[in-house]
Symmetry: C2
Subunit: 548 residues, 2 copies
């Protein structure tokens, strides 16, 4: 009852003025935080553990026609590898055949003489052939060098089993002898990878006559999603291993059309709520280790997407109790966002504090039209959620506000002559501006379709830099009835990754630049990245478009 | 009964001929081996574990007047160190104040922001300041580089506790930040060293008016011995961590005059017996890990010293049961050794197989006179052992053989004119030839004293290269009544190490060459080495010489 009362106060405050809002919010969070974290803990899914073994011996070969200039070729049978001399061959690479995430153990043994001294190996765990071929040092990347998965291990004696303490994500392991005694030779006698995920098999299957490339995209997408579904929806099991709201959204969509593990979505929604800032603003992402905690950063687009996830979760699971429980969190994101609207309902780019807007990994991409579109979309989603919960009276001013925002969008961001949305001082035309405006329903589907087509046909237009960006473009194309274009784009983009050998889909993919990285080093990119799994969602949700 | 019968057969075979000896020996070993290993396991001492903490922050400073060119100076208070920023100061060194052996753990934490990425540190564990100051790579040593105690660790998040899997031995730990996130700073919040030894306090104490330097030598010797007394007498806790017969001998002597842990001596005697080669020859050394097993090498001087240890053990402990049990092992070493005597009783340097003769770490040291002396000494010790066990009838030919050997020594190895023993084609005069001949009682004590003095006064004479070699010289000097010279030598040699800052005594020490190493790198030398602990034995056994 007290809760309801507070919500009522919120909803009044949203439209009547903002005095003392944060104090009220703090009260709600003080009351609910522990309860939400408890529910998150209760929903934690058990991990399914499976022992995996390498299936062959490979070598990394430089090849300018291969993705990033490297490929692997078979170098021997795996049975040949066990008990092979590291004195004869200092470096050997084993291939697990697919991407796994978990705990790696390796047993080393002597060949011939017994051990009389410690031995040292370097182990390099690679998602991609480039990580096998290129040296990690000197490192010029912008993120911690320690994300790169190489470890130096000392065997005090042999036989000896090394277990790498940190969880790893890889397909290949390079094993390199660094130091040994002249008195005895050494080999690997066993390898065990305890692979983990909270899911195993998709609940859905494709029409038998689905195009083989679409089938392959679906398979790789499922693998990507499975690897990222651990005890939270992670962004990437190699890096950052964290729950980001943006990734959560796309993973939850794909999960609804595959593994259907609703408990994980519920857990993540509660975790984010339980770890919100004292003011009620959600952190962009949280870590689970050593104990669940929020990272400092706030990203306004992600805050709003939380509401969309909650809405989708309710539609998928029917779990009204959770949605009601977390409704105050959604309201609070609205409160935060509306602070950024000017009197005409346009996003004010000068308003402080300026939160990071994610949207995509793309240099020079102007985000003004996109945030305006996303806010409009999310406000509408939040209103739909309120209706499902019978709470529309609490946010009854929303439809009026949404209309005001659309009007402002048309007035300030739409170039009628060209039939596209433009963004920023340079009137940038980007795929994403059109996509977010389409999703916001600011114009009619026909107008939006035209805007999308105009942008796509313009070689100067700013195209997305990441699968995350492409997701919203495809969703918008489908929404505007451009299913064929959506299908072509998926085949071009995700099909491109498949053709370039992806076992799982990548964090960053630019068809024109193999080595693009937002971190100044393609080695530190994540090559199994959650926000890239959404073909699973599209293919399974829209069989008429993709399964033919 | 059956055992006795076999021994009787042995003793007859020794002097009547060697046909089929090895077959008989194999039978004894087949019968006893498991029983001996069981007794070794039963005698395994519990390790005493104590948590140790660093006591100050130091830095390594280049100083040409310091041993090996490096010294440590205090750089701060230890409380200051905890929570110090590694971003401000990439490398910090903590000092435990004394040498410890055991398991090292270190807890890292964040400073300010929470962790968003893994962090990487390099930890270098050093017995000596030079190990802190000099880079380990490129490494040119002759033993495995992996003995050097540096480890690279990855913290997946913080706070995080790293425990180094292998056991370490050190006084100092250098902690070096290799890779971090730009987003947060990191510090050490706790360090725990679980130090182990099977002993704690010496049972004996020195006369209060003992010379302060002798007191200090005794203290450092006790520390050396304690560190090497784990679940076997190890040679060195940093390297090789193994039970060598030569080290066992000196450690058992020092133990008898300090910690008096007879169980450990018993365990080692049984382990060596249980792991003898099928022919009954003892291996020079054994490892305990992963399960007790012998290294391949055989060293004839060490085989014979086993008999001396067994004799000393019986005298110290009164444990006749063990001595009787292991008597066949002693007989078997006699059998092996006598094969190397020619008809005149002189050691035949051409006889195959040529086993390694340890004696000392010293280039160009000729071992002929020394092995002749050691064999004579060990045969006599074995005969004394037989008498204590009432088994002299089983080796009744020994006194006659010993006399024959002494006669041969006088004839072929003694230079009457100079009054010294000479060795090898170049008639080398060495301290050790005189020492071993003195211990063998080949000449009168007066003649031996003269031989020792002549060698010591000869600047061209080959002096020992290791504390192990010096031990026998000092023992010989005392035996010949040259207590003052023995005392002076200990003060010169072990006192020299103390003055140069030894916390524990070193494997190799040449007063004229700080960086001498038998392994082509002084960094790989062991600086807490068992065979260097014997001042404890001398000082406590001979109070009239040393405690005044």
């Amino acid at each position: 009852m007290k809760n309801r009362l507070l919500i009522a106060i919120f909803s009044m405050l949203i439209f009547w003025g903002n005095n003392n809002i944060s104090a009220q919010v703090t009260d709600v969070y003080k009351q609910q935080r522990q309860q939400w974290l408890k529910k998150a803990a209760e929903a934690k899914p058990p991990l399914i553990k499976q022992i995996k073994k390498p299936i062959s011996l490979v070598k990394a070969v430089k090849d300018s026609s291969a993705y990033q200039g490297w490929k692997t070729v078979k170098a021997g049978d795996i049975n040949q590898f066990y008990r092979s001399s590291f004195k004869q061959n200092n470096v050997m690479i084993v291939d697990f055949g697919e991407h796994f995430t978990g705990t790696f153990s390796c047993t080393f043994d002597t060949l011939g003489n017994i051990s009389d001294a410690p031995v040292r190996f370097k182990l390099t765990f690679a998602e991609m052939p480039a990580e096998l071929g290129e040296p990690f040092d000197p490192y010029h990347g912008g993120l911690s060098r320690a994300w790169l998965q190489d470890e130096i291990v000392t065997l005090p004696y042999a036989p000896y089993t090394v277990t790498i303490p940190r969880r790893l994500a890889f397909r290949y392991v390079k094993i390199e002898l660094l130091a040994a005694s002249s008195y005895f030779d050494v080999c690997v006698s066993d390898i065990n990878m305890e692979a983990t995920s909270c899911v195993q098999e998709s609940k859905l299957s494709l029409a038998p006559d689905t195009d083989p490339l679409i089938k392959e995209i679906n398979r790789v997408g499922l693998s990507t999603l499975k690897e990222c579904m651990q005890t939270v929806y992670e962004d990437g099991p190699k890096r950052d291993m964290r729950l980001w709201i943006g990734d959560l959204y796309l993973e939850a969509l794909a999960n609804a059309y595959s593994y259907q593990n609703n408990a994980l979505t519920k857990r993540c929604l509660y975790l984010l709520a339980g770890l919100a800032k004292p003011s009620g603003i959600l952190s962009s992402n949280i870590s689970e280790v050593p104990t669940p905690r929020a990272q400092n950063s706030v990203t306004l687009d992600y805050c709003l997407l939380y509401n969309v996830v909650l809405h989708e979760y309710l539609k998928t699971s029917g779990d009204k109790e959770t949605a009601e429980d977390l409704w105050p969190v959604a309201v609070n994101q609205l409160l935060l966002a509306q602070e950024y609207l000017n009197n005409e309902g346009l996003y004010d780019t000068a308003k402080q504090p300026q939160y990071w807007l994610v949207f995509d990994w793309k240099d020079n991409f102007d985000r003004h039209a996109s945030i305006q579109g996303l806010m409009t979309f999310a406000f509408n989603e939040t209103y739909q959620l309120a209706k499902l919960l019978g709470k529309e009276s609490e946010v009854k001013e929303l439809p009026r506000l949404i209309n005001k925002m659309k009007k402002a969008s048309r007035k300030y961001l739409y170039d009628k002559k060209q039939g596209v949305f433009v963004s920023g001082q340079d009137k940038q035309i980007s795929y994403l501006s059109q996509a977010w405006m389409a999703l916001s329903e600011t114009l009619s589907p026909k107008e939006c379709a035209k805007a999308l087509q105009t942008a796509i046909q313009n070689p100067e237009a700013c195209y997305p830099g990441s699968p995350y960006g492409y997701h919203y473009v495809i969703e918008a194309l489908i929404k505007c009835g451009l299913g064929e274009t959506a299908r072509d784009m998926m085949i071009y983009y995700w099909g491109g990754m498949v053709k370039k050998g992806a076992d799982t889909f990548w964090e960053v993919y630019d068809p024109n630049d193999d080595c693009r990285s937002p971190y100044n080093s393609h080695l530190i990119n994540s090559y199994c990245h959650a926000w890239s799994c959404t073909p699973v969602y599209f293919i399974n949700k829209y069989p008429d478009i993709f399964q033919k």
